[in-house]
């Protein structure tokens, strides 16, 4: 039998990959086996292009209890507890059906967390869309936000933080990355490693339908809309809530050997991965799988991506107890097979073998590719652009420019979106969304809290993937540090275009290199992650978007700060004085240019600044902290004033020289490692002393007073106008 090109296209395998399968098996694969290989060797499951690069990430640290390779990573947070977290993409489904695509993205990441034995306590999401001038993009935003809220609110897990960014390249390919954080007792950490031949394989939750067949392969090709309609699944958050409660209850018993959710590539991947990780085999008969449609064959059952399903490996003597728990929660459970000794994944259909392959063939033997890596010369040229050749900002235009930036899509308030997410459920949210640079969530039963944030400035990564990659890690860590938390570990979601094209592979490689270096310098190991490639439309890739989700620790929950400056407070800039217009939001908004080199970053300075801020918060010395990012110093100050409903009188002239005497660079230029803190005047000396002790650069900018922002003789800008511009920038259709 010779396989046709058409068949290979359907399973997204190359001829060479097919030949490798034949060589491994010593025979042609059966149709079911071929479908399983297609799914497991897809980029989504097999990380074909990213695996060699991912080895650059630091994954170890004294807090790391579980690094990459499981459903989620886990760090030690003290008191015998761990924080399990992971971020994952659901880009391709969301491009086609935004509500369900985003909803099932949340569902998938939540399952990853409770599969580890952790109770999910917080959700975050990182979203990228095209400009809202297009009705399609407004529809995508509205749908995605609706789906995230619809699923998360129903589950009763607070959505506490995230980030949204707009750029042309996301128009047909929005990015939807969902992150979940859970809390687990050390002794409850559960892994997805099957063991103990004879143990039973139980499938729980939703019945299996034809939805989502080939979802994993679909996520690994260009233009999914064109090639794979109808693969988007529909979420049922109510069922997931039952699964969540039942599974956590189940883990309190001694009967569970392993747990694995069914996500991409459905039953195939969950069985293969549990067997492969555990070094055992698994034999199932698809006849035992409850279905929601008639006439489904083994191929369809093995590749269905129906949502809200879990695979649980249980000891035989515990089956009755396990079933009782599921019945209590009105959940269906099927014993579909057992763990075997031979290491093979064997699939039967009414007793007839339809697939029989060593589990490791699907995982360890998955081919990996190192592709040619060449920077796009056009990007190098853009980077070489010197923004200082542009005319400087006319002082009279200061107010209008500030208002334009405050109202721009990438800077303005996310309140209309945030309001649709429940952030108060679970009564742990100590620093809610909008109030600070990161969310702070307390850990009940302890005095501790976690701070968390997602972020990525894709423009920096586009113009310089290596430096941009460093920024992503540094900025998320800085966000977390601004609340007073010590950044502890990160998860990431690498959203890129087609890696088979050298410029995209270059972006991927360099961004990972930069991220890895920053993660090392800041001692925030990578404990989990996800890769989403082929994000492009008509050959145009999205801006490279390696989103990071950072989690930090606060030892004393009372000691945290938000970003609101208070009337009477003084503002101090911590960090370097020099900024650049390269890759800035100002350059894009005012001069309509995405060009120039992003700000440089000294990771040692970054670390020192973050440590200084953490120390100031822990000592109760400052009342607010906010990092400067898109829009630079003026926007960061404005945001602190809007939040605190106060004006300020500031002298920025000491910054002029370091910015070449340019007003635009000083006010709106961007830089790494900068944090503005608000301090009561009585504490100013102590704060400055602490900063001097650490050798951190700092500058007193002025004092919060009145109802307008007054900077060095520039026209004053009323807080009311700034607030109005900032609050009305984003409208949900």
């Amino acid at each position: 039998m010779t396989v046709t090109d058409q068949t290979l296209r359907e399973v997204a395998l190359t001829r060479e990959e097919y030949d490798k399968i034949v060589a491994l098996l010593g025979r042609e694969p059966s149709p079911v086996e071929l479908g399983m290989f297609g799914a497991m060797w897809s980029e989504h499951c097999g990380y074909k292009h990213s695996r060699p690069l991912l080895r650059m990430f630091p994954t170890e640290g004294e807090r790391v209890l579980q690094g990459p390779g499981e459903n989620a990573g886990v760090i030690d947070i003290g008191d015998g507890l761990g924080a399990a977290f992971k971020i994952e993409s659901h880009n391709h489904p969301s491009a086609i059906e935004p509500y369900q695509g985003a909803a099932t993205g949340v569902g998938g990441i939540v399952r990853d967390i409770f599969t580890m034995g952790a109770r999910p306590v917080a959700l975050l999401n990182s979203l990228r869309f095209g400009p809202l001038t297009s009705a399609r993009n407004r529809y995508l935003l509205s749908g995605v936000v609706g789906g995230i809220g619809g699923y998360g609110n129903c589950l009763g897990i607070p959505t506490v933080a995230g980030d949204i960014y707009f750029a042309d390249s996301y128009s047909s390919n929005p990015l939807v990355n969902a992150m979940a954080v859970g809390i687990v007792r050390h002794d409850m950490i559960t892994r997805a490693r099957a063991s103990g031949p004879g143990n039973l394989v139980v499938l729980v939750g939703a019945d299996t339908g034809r939805d989502g067949i080939h979802g994993a392969t679909f996520a690994s090709v260009d233009n999914p809309e064109e090639s794979h309609r109808g693969v988007v699944q529909v979420g049922n958050p109510f069922l997931e809530k039952l699964l969540l409660e039942a599974c956590l209850e189940l883990l309190e018993t001694d009967y569970v050997v392993a747990m694995q959710d069914l996500g991409a590539a459905g039953l195939t991947s969950s069985i293969v991965e549990s067997a492969s990780r555990g070094g055992v085999g698994i034999e199932i008969d698809v006849a035992h799988v409850s279905r929601r449609e008639e006439g489904m064959n083994a191929y369809e059952i093995m590749l269905s991506e129906s949502q809200e399903r879990m695979l649980v490996i249980v000891r035989e003597d515990g089956l009755d107890a396990v079933r009782e728990i599921f019945e209590r929660w009105d959940l269906n459970s099927d014993v579909i097979g057992k763990v075997t000794e031979d290491g093979n994944v064997r699939v039967l259909e009414h007793g007839t073998v339809v697939a029989d392959v060593p589990a490791t063939y699907f995982t360890d033997e998955c081919p990996t590719y190192v592709r040619p890596s060449v920077e796009d010369p056009a990007v190098a040229e853009l980077r070489a652009f010197d923004p200082d050749i542009l005319p400087d900002l006319n002082p009279d235009q200061f107010g209008d420019t500030l208002l334009t930036l405050l109202g721009s899509w990438n800077i303005c308030s996310r309140e209309p979106v945030v309001r649709t997410y429940d952030h108060t459920i679970m009564s742990n949210t100590v620093l809610p969304p909008l109030d600070g640079d990161a969310a702070v969530v307390r850990i009940k039963g302890t005095n501790r809290a976690l701070a968390m944030k997602t972020d990525c400035n894709p423009r920096y990564v586009y113009l310089d993937p290596y430096v941009g990659g460093q920024h992503v890690v540094a900025e998320t860590a800085r966000n977390v540090a601004c609340t007073g938390a010590k950044p502890a570990a990160l998860t990431n979601c690498l959203n890129f275009g087609n890696p088979e094209r050298p410029p995209v592979y270059y972006q991927l490689e360099q961004a990972i290199r930069g991220m890895a270096e920053a993660a090392r310098a800041l001692e925030t190991p990578v404990i989990s992650g996800n890769v989403s490639l082929y994000n492009e439309t008509d050959g145009v890739p999205v801006l490279p978007t390696p989103t990071v989700g950072m989690v930090g620790l606060i030892d004393d929950v009372e000691r945290h700060v938000g970003m609101a400056a208070r009337r009477g407070d003084e503002l101090i800039l911590i960090g370097p004085r020099s900024a650049t217009l390269g890759a800035s939001e100002y350059l894009s908004m005012v001069h309509d240019r995405v060009a120039g080199a992003p700000p440089g970053i000294d990771l040692q300075v970054e670390r020192t600044v973050q440590e200084a801020v953490i120390e100031l918060v822990a000592g109760g010395l400052i009342s607010a902290a906010h990092d400067t990012s898109e829009g630079g110093l003026a926007v960061a100050i404005a945001e602190m004033l809007i939040a605190g409903d106060t004006g300020a009188e500031l002298d920025l002239s000491p910054l002029s020289e370091a910015n070449g005497g340019r007003l635009d660079r000083m006010l709106f230029g961007e830089a790494a490692s900068r944090v503005i803190v608000a301090v009561e005047p009585a504490r100013r000396d102590r704060v400055q002393q602490k900063l001097d002790d650490r050798g951190v650069e700092h500058l007193l900018l002025g004092r919060c007073s009145g109802d307008s922002l007054r900077v060095n003789g520039l026209p004053e800008v009323p807080i009311e106008a700034m607030s109005a511009a900032w609050r009305t920038g984003l409208v949900l259709d």
């Binding site: 009763g156 039952l242 997410y421 009564s427």
Partner: protein
């Protein structure tokens, strides 16, 4: 005093209600599974928020058929205190234990934020320790919270002092801006004719600690203790 918190499939405010009473009020509390048929031994019942049965069909529409609801109705008929928050309020209206209905928010979107509500009456066990006119700050988080009754019933509610909470600004003034969901007459919560069954859309059980942004919820949850103390004495 012992509180019971009913858990339906899809309830998600049950944990907060348990925490609020245990950590905030420091009173005895236990969960009650919806498949049970008795509420013996409890002095007050809480029907928590969430998405019982996924809110499929309509918020609270399926939960009212849960086995426990007969016992809840008997408990209410005996004049004992029952408090429904958010989805719990919806369930109580669906079960006919409270008048009116909760429609989709005027914005057609879920809304999560802190609001101000004014206490309108102290005749209920959950407001008896609060002076009428007091403004409480509480979070809301719902998509179907727009209170509605027909005009005759509204007049009746007013005449019988059944309106327990109204959305107002921080100074206790009813305004359209202060009404987060388009509720009729800014109504945030009502009681039954006897006054012992109270439902409201805001979440007192999420406002039991200043760290969380406020602890006004304890005034409502704690109010019932006074009645209990009186009865026991």
């Amino acid at each position: 005093m012992k509180f019971g918190v009913v858990t339906f499939p899809g309830s998600n405010g049950d944990h907060d209600a348990l925490s609020a009473i245990e950590l905030g009020l420091r009173e005895e509390v236990a969960p009650i599974w919806h498949k049970e048929r008795s509420v013996d031994g409890f002095d007050a019942l809480i029907i928590p928020g969430g998405f019982s049965y996924g809110d499929y069909l309509r918020g609270g529409a399926i939960a009212r058929f849960s086995p426990i609801m007969d016992a809840v109705a008997e408990f209410a008929a005996a004049g004992k205190p029952v408090l429904g928050m958010c989805n719990g309020f919806q369930i109580l209206t669906e079960a006919g234990l409270l008048p009116g209905a909760l429609l989709r928010n005027q914005s057609l979107r879920f809304s999560c934020k802190w609001v101000n509500v004014r206490v309108e009456t102290d005749r209920t066990p959950f407001t008896q320790a609060i002076d009428p006119g007091t403004v409480l700050r509480l979070p809301i988080a719902h998509g179907e919270g727009r209170y509605f009754v027909d005009p005759e019933t509204l007049e009746q509610l007013k005449a019988r002092d059944q309106i327990v909470f109204r959305y107002t600004d921080a100074h206790g003034v009813e305004t359209d801006e202060a009404n987060p969901n388009g509720s009729l007459d800014n109504i945030a919560g009502v009681c039954n004719e006897a006054g012992n069954v109270v439902g409201l859309m805001p979440h007192p059980e999420r406002a039991y600690d200043a760290l969380l942004g406020g602890d006004d919820g304890l005034k409502i949850l704690g109010s019932v203790l006074r009645q209990h103390a009186r009865q026991v004495a």
